[in-house]
Amino acid sequence: MQSTRNKLIEILSNNQETYISGQLISERLNISRSAIWKHMRELEKDGYVIEGKPKRGYRILEFPKKISENTLKWGLETEWIAKTIIHKPETTSTQHIAHQLAQEGASHGTIVIADEQTKGKGRMNRKWHSSKNEGIWMSIILRPAIPPHKAPQLTLLTATVLADVIMKETNIKPYIKWPNDIIIHNKKMSGILTEMQAEQDQVQYIIIGIGMNVNQDIKSLHKEIHTKATSLKMEADKEFDIRYLVQKILQQFEKTYELYLQKGFPVIKTKWESYGFRIGEKILIKTMNHEWKATFSGIDHDGGLLVRNLDDGKMEKLYSAEIDWFRENS
């Protein structure tokens, strides 16, 4: 069914200028005229607008903007990512669903995507406001054959993927705040939450959660984050097709991930640093017992944060710390 419908969409979209006869479709797909009609009805439910004229045939007028398993799959040029798509109009959190699916054995590349999250999850269970049809709320399940200590590199990788897509689609240069927040004009536009289940030397699964503000206006962003958050629409001054963006992200992700497996982290590091937020500037670092100022020098070959301590001039590498990026230099 699924593949017939995808083929049907393909035929229609390759013939957008002219009508294509029911007879021809019927021969190409080897199904009856009434079966074609049923498929057309289903496509209309997904948001396709199809015109049918007696004696001339069918023509596709409009592609759907709304997200469904079908609309995401159509035109998606990937080998392994999103071969299984779980779409929920509303859910608590895509991370939550993805964890359940992964524990039940969901395969590498499975994605969970929602129109709306009621309990969007940020770091340490901080809330992420994920309003209906205005953003990308998605989780990717991965089962990579890499040692667990290398897994954090995937969060940096994902950040470069989002930055690449934003750059290409908007022409606005995004920055990546170490390790993985996407910043435009000093405001957060996208966040990534990566969770892993691993044994000492083997990764069971990794779930990469992506939250991206796309079509929100300042009104629809929660008041408490007005000064800290932004959306693609607010920055680029136009609406974006979420379905299209999701496909671009998935395609770019697959490409980058393959590159990473072949060539390792150095290629990701170079890309990451080209988007690096506040490289060369002073930042304030906090750990449980200390607080100190340092210059952010870049990232190391494994993704760790390299900073030069302002007191003793020594270079340090950090994997985990609270960093105050926005404090004025002093």
Partner: protein
């Protein structure tokens, strides 16, 4: 425990690496290697190796008692406890990062001393570069000791919990 061969191997690895300095610490003993290098970009990385802690190693390389910082008391305590506390499994950190005892600051910790765990019970989270790694017990038994504090930085291979398996 480290043998002379292993130390030789370590020296070789450190020598060939871009490291300036290398420190390895275990119960009461510390190995520190330092290169005389002109690199200005050098930095320190700790890479503890998990070893049998029961024997105090005589090392031909620079061996010294651990400095009298907070670590000393910890190490001292744990070595004392070794003889008294009854455990046969250590849950160690699979990566460098921050140790979190609870899923979020408002929640209760995943486990306490005395908690019964199954092999798939989550005992803590270790976070590095915003990747949150849920650590499973991997054994069935009782938690007899928690060796790190909430929010503490932990190293690769550092023991986090001691478990008496059942």
């Amino acid at each position: 425990m480290l043998t002379i061969e292993e130390i030789r191997e370590l020296i070789k690895i450190v020598d060939e690496s871009s490291l300036d300095e290398f420190t390895y610490e275990t119960n009461g003993a510390k190995v520190k290697m330092k290169k005389d290098t002109q690199y200005h970009e050098g930095y320190t990385i700790y890479q503890p190796v998990q070893t049998d802690e029961k024997t105090q190693e005589q090392m031909s390389v620079e061996t010294m008692p651990v400095q009298s910082d907070s670590k000393q008391t910890e190490t001292g305590e744990s070595s004392k406890k070794e003889t008294t506390s009854d455990y046969d499994h250590e849950i160690v950190s699979p990566m460098v990062g921050t140790f979190y005892a609870a899923p979020n600051p408002e929640s209760d910790p995943y486990v306490k001393v005395g908690s019964e765990v199954q092999s798939e019970s989550i005992v803590c989270i270790v976070e590095a570069m915003k990747l949150f790694n849920e650590i499973e017990a991997e054994v069935t038994g009782e938690v007899v000791e928690i060796m790190v504090e909430d929010g503490e930085l932990v190293e690769y291979g550092q023991p986090l919990f001691r478990v008496k398996t059942t």
